[in-house]
Structures are given as C-alpha cells and as structure tokens.
C-alpha cells in the first residue's frame, strides 16, 4: 500500500472518529434528557405530563421512522443554517446527531424503565424530592444499561457516518465507496472494512467493560 493511500486511510479514520465522537457526545447530551423526560412524564411518572409525553414520543418516533439517507438530504437546509455549509464533517454531524439522539433516547428509556417502581417509592418514602429521585435513584440505577445503550448508539453512528460520505463528509465510508467500490481498489475496500471492524470491536469492548464495572446488581 502506498504512502498516499495510507495517509488517505488515516485521514478517513480521523474524520470518522471526529464525526462519530462529536455526534455521539451530542446525542448523549440530547438523548439522555429526552429519555428522562419520556420516562418521567409518562402516566404515573414522577413528573407526570401525559400530553408532553405523547407529543415528544411522537416526534421521536417520526424522526426514527425516516431512513437516514433521506434525513441526510432533507436536513440540508437546517444544516446550512446551523453550520453554514451542507458539506464537510460538520455538515454530517447535524443529521447524524438528529438521527442518533432519538435512537439513544429510546434505548436509554428502556433502561430507565427497568428501574423498579418500589425503588422509586422507597425514595419517595424517605421524603426525596423529584430531582433527588432522578439524581440518586433513576440515573445511577439504570447507568449500566445506559452505558450499554450508548455503546450500541456509537456503533450505529459509525455505520451511519459512512453514509454521510454522500454529502461529502469524508470518513472511512466515503473512502470505501470512492476508492474501493467506484475505482475497484479492493485493497482499499478490505483495509477500510478491517479498520471499521477493529474500531467497532474496540468501542464495544470498552463499553462492555465500563458497563460491567459500574454494574453492582
């Protein structure tokens, strides 16, 4: 493999990591509060507000129904508005985040719902405020599941970021398509796939390790 090709792959890896990392972090910051709202505003929740819950749930479902490639194109005006351009890494981060945040919200929601009602009642019986219940019970008790869910979200994001190559975002997926597929450079294709496998395995391994470490159930 030529030095140029090596540099190309390295740049692609770098771009993939940046896209995944930033949109992952944003998805976490948006998705977790979203999940908390979805769980706590539901009927019987500690911040019960069923109307809010239904509307938010509907928006999340709608966003999750749109295929990512369509979302990518449909969001171009919003992307332009937010980052001033519809191409490049930052242009990809907008649709990636908007696709991944609702996804992660639903995954985190499942973990949050697994916190049993009696545990919440126990905290209420101690005179805990709703915020204390959130901080001391709901989040810590579901954290192992949330970490596992975030790992899944990150892996999904890596896959989606490959598609973002379609808007000129770069990244490994873009290289695989342009060099490996369109120019029949099999070694590029194989290299990209191998790098992606290693990346995904690495993320999964770290996520599993972290989830295990904080799980004391």
């Amino acid at each position: 493999m030529s030095q140029a090709m090596f540099d190309l792959l390295l740049r692609g890896l770098n771009e993939t990591i940046i896209m995944t990392g930033i949109s992952g972090a944003l998805s976490f910051l948006i998705g977790l509060p979203l999940a908390l709202i979805l769980v706590t505003t539901d009927r019987g929740g500690i911040f019960e507000a069923v109307a809010v819950n239904r509307i938010l749930g509907g928006i999340v479902n709608a966003l999750r129904s749109v295929p990512f490639i369509i979302l990518l194109v449909a969001l171009i005006p919003l992307t332009r508005l937010l980052v001033g351009s519809a191409i490049g890494i930052w242009a990809a981060i907008v649709p990636l985040t908007i696709a991944a945040a609702p996804y992660f919200a639903r995954v985190a929601e499942v973990s949050l719902r697994e916190v049993e009602r009696p545990l919440i009642d126990a905290a209420r019986s101690m005179g805990a405020t709703r915020w204390t219940i959130l901080r001391e019970v709901l989040i810590p008790e579901s954290l192992p599941g949330i970490v596992s869910g975030f790992t899944v979200t990150l892996v999904t994001l890596i896959g989606a970021s490959a598609m973002a190559g379609a808007v000129g975002a770069g990244g490994l997926g873009d290289i695989a398509i342009r060099y490996g597929y369109q120019r029949f450079q099999t070694e590029v294709m194989v290299s990209v796939v191998v790098i992606l496998i290693v990346l995904v395995c690495g993320i999964q391994w770290i996520g599993d390790w972290l989830a295990r470490r904080i799980d004391h159930r």
């Binding site: 209420r124 005179g127 204390t132």
Partner: protein, 345 residues
C-alpha cells in the same frame, strides 16, 4: 395536654375503581407501641401502610401523623413528613448502585445533613444493626437478612418517630426472621420508635407486637392486645390466621370421636394465669376419675401463656360432664365437649 397519637386514621376509605381497599378504617397508635397489622393478601394492608406516608391517598377520612393531618398535603408538603417516617420493605429496596454506607446515608442526604456528619451517623447506624464491617460492600453481596438490616439502618437514619414495616420478614428464612425481629424489638425498646408492622405471619405478631389489628377485605375485623386476641380470637379471619399456631387434634384421634362412648373428650382453651392451673387435677376431683391429656400445648405471647388442650375425662357420665364444664368455664377462654372416645386413645 395529653400526648396525641403518633398515627390516627379517622374513618379512612380508599377505593380502587369500585372495590374498597380500605373501608372506613379508624385506628390510633400511641407513641412507643408495636402494632401488628395482619390479614391475608389483598386485605388492604399495603394500601393502609401507604396511606400513612402519603404514597397513597384515601378518598374519605383523615390520616393524622403526630397531630398533623396529612390528607390534604401536596407531594411537596408531604416530603418533610415522610422524613420522619422510616419504612422497611419485603424486598428491601436497596439501591444497587450505592454501597451499604451510601444507602444508609441517603435519607440523611435528603434531609440536608453534611457529608462528615453523615459518615459518622452512618457508622453509628451500621454498628447498631451489626454491619459496621460491610459499610463499603455492595448490597448485592449481602444475604437477605443483612440486606434487611441495612434497610432498617436506612429507615432509622433520620431518627423517625414511626417505623413502617411492610412484610419485612416475609422473604427471610425463620432464623433470619428471628434476628430481624429481635433487632426491631430492640429498636423499639432502646430508641422508643413506634412500629407498625404489616404481615401475614401471625408468628411475627406474636413475637414482638403488643397490639394486633386484623384486617379483612379492607375492614378492621378484630383489634386488641396480642395475647388476648390469640387466646380467644373472635373474628373468623383471626381464627383462620391462627389455625397453624394452635394444636389441632391428630387425624386418627379425630376419626374415633363418636357421639357415645367410653370417655367424654373436651377441648379447653386457656390464657394467662389460668394456663398454669392444675387442670387435670381439677377435673379428676370433680369426676372422681383420672383425667387424661390427649393432645395440646401451651405457647406464650410476651410472657403470657395461652394454649389449647384436648382432655379425656375418664368418664362418659353426662352429669359429671356438665359439672366439669360448669366448673371450668370461668377459668378458661373456651370449653367445648367434642364427643366421646375409646379409653385407648
């Protein structure tokens, strides 16, 4: 001014859809009491205990805690009241993501106690329940009995005036149950904490409660000092809950009871000092024939003996029988002629 009760339920009714879970409950618990609330599952025990700290609200009636009517209070207004009521649970409800010490510290954190004071108080509490060496352990590593001790330490953290126990020993084996009950009795005696324990196990009530309240389909069907209620239960629910505890006639003896026969068989229920009387001797003196204990036994409720005995009179003479029943009636809780049995049972 007389001291007001710690708990006062005033004609409390709680309905779920149409079914009343609590039906016109009136109950008062004085400071320092241990009250056992017993009933079958579905009798409304859990609903009652949840009404006491506002986790549930009655549609009618008042719930008064230490003089304060909590019925109209909002969730926020209830919080300071709840901080004065400890609660322990059948399944412990410890937080898995917190160490033993942090679990016990949670009520203190909620009450705004500083970290240093918290740490000190937590160690005192863990000492009290005999788990000082487990402070930094995760709850998942503890046995059931140890978990409940942590639960008790946590419930006592904010110096509650009332401790609610929701089937706290129902998930524990008999030996562990004993340890937890001893601890609760000690907490009541040494710290003066009023305890309301709900259970379906009459044995738990017998061991530590002073007063028992029997609940059936949302109503109080019987109430009184444990020894009195156990010795002479009035309500059918109480009788059936007590069934396992009183001796019953063995099958082979019961099968041989006939309307006529060699010897009359009577059942005698005794309670208190009467349980110590030389009953067989009393009977023998009346009938002039030796009386025989066929089956039975004594038990005790906080030092008060109570029991049930099946006695063969040694005669079938109706006149002797009548005189025995007449003579023993004032000295026993219940006496009944069951029939006749052959002389060899």
């Amino acid at each position: 001014m007389t001291e007001h009760p710690v708990v006062l339920l005033d004609h409390v009714t709680r309905r779920f859809t149409d079914m009343p879970a609590l039906d016109d409950i009136t109950l008062s618990i004085a400071k320092g009491e241990i009250v056992g609330l017993i009933g079958r599952s579905g009798a409304g025990k859990s609903t009652l205990i949840r009404c006491l700290n506002g986790l549930d609200k009655p549609q009618e009636g008042r719930v008064v805690i230490d003089g304060l009517d909590i019925t109209p209070l909002s969730e926020q207004a209830l919080q300071p009241v709840r901080r004065r009521i400890g609660m322990i649970f059948q399944h412990f409800n410890l937080l898995s993501a917190k160490t033993v010490a942090d679990n016990v510290a949670l009520p203190l954190k909620i009450a705004g106690v500083g970290a240093a004071a918290r740490r000190k108080r937590v160690m005192e509490l863990l000492d009290l329940v005999g788990l000082a060496d487990k402070a930094d352990t995760w709850p998942a590593r503890l046995s059931g009995g140890q978990k409940q001790r942590v639960g008790i330490a946590r419930a006592l953290a904010s110096d509650p005036l009332l401790l609610l126990s929701d089937e706290a020993t129902s998930a524990l084996d008999p030996e562990t149950t004993q340890g937890v009950l001893d601890l609760l009795a000690r907490v009541n005696r040494d710290l003066g904490v009023t305890i309301l324990m709900i259970t379906h196990e009459i044995e738990v009530v017998r061991q530590i409660a002073g007063r028992v309240v029997v609940l059936d389909r949302g109503r109080i069907v019987e109430e009184g000092p444990v020894a009195r209620v156990m010795a002479s239960p009035q309500a059918d629910t109480t009788k059936s809950l007590l069934r396992g505890l009183s001796p019953i006639l063995p099958r082979d003896v019961a099968d041989r009871i006939t309307p006529d026969g060699d010897q009359a068989l009577i059942r005698v229920d005794v309670y208190g000092p009467d349980a110590r009387r030389p009953l067989l001797d009393d009977i023998a003196r009346i009938t002039g024939r030796p009386a025989r204990l066929v089956h039975g036994g004594l038990n005790d409720v906080q030092g008060e003996p109570y029991g049930r005995m099946f006695i063969a009179l040694g005669t079938s003479d109706p006149d002797s029988m009548r005189r025995v029943v007449a003579a023993l009636s004032p000295k026993t809780t219940a006496i009944e002629v069951l029939g006749h049995v052959p002389g060899d049972v």
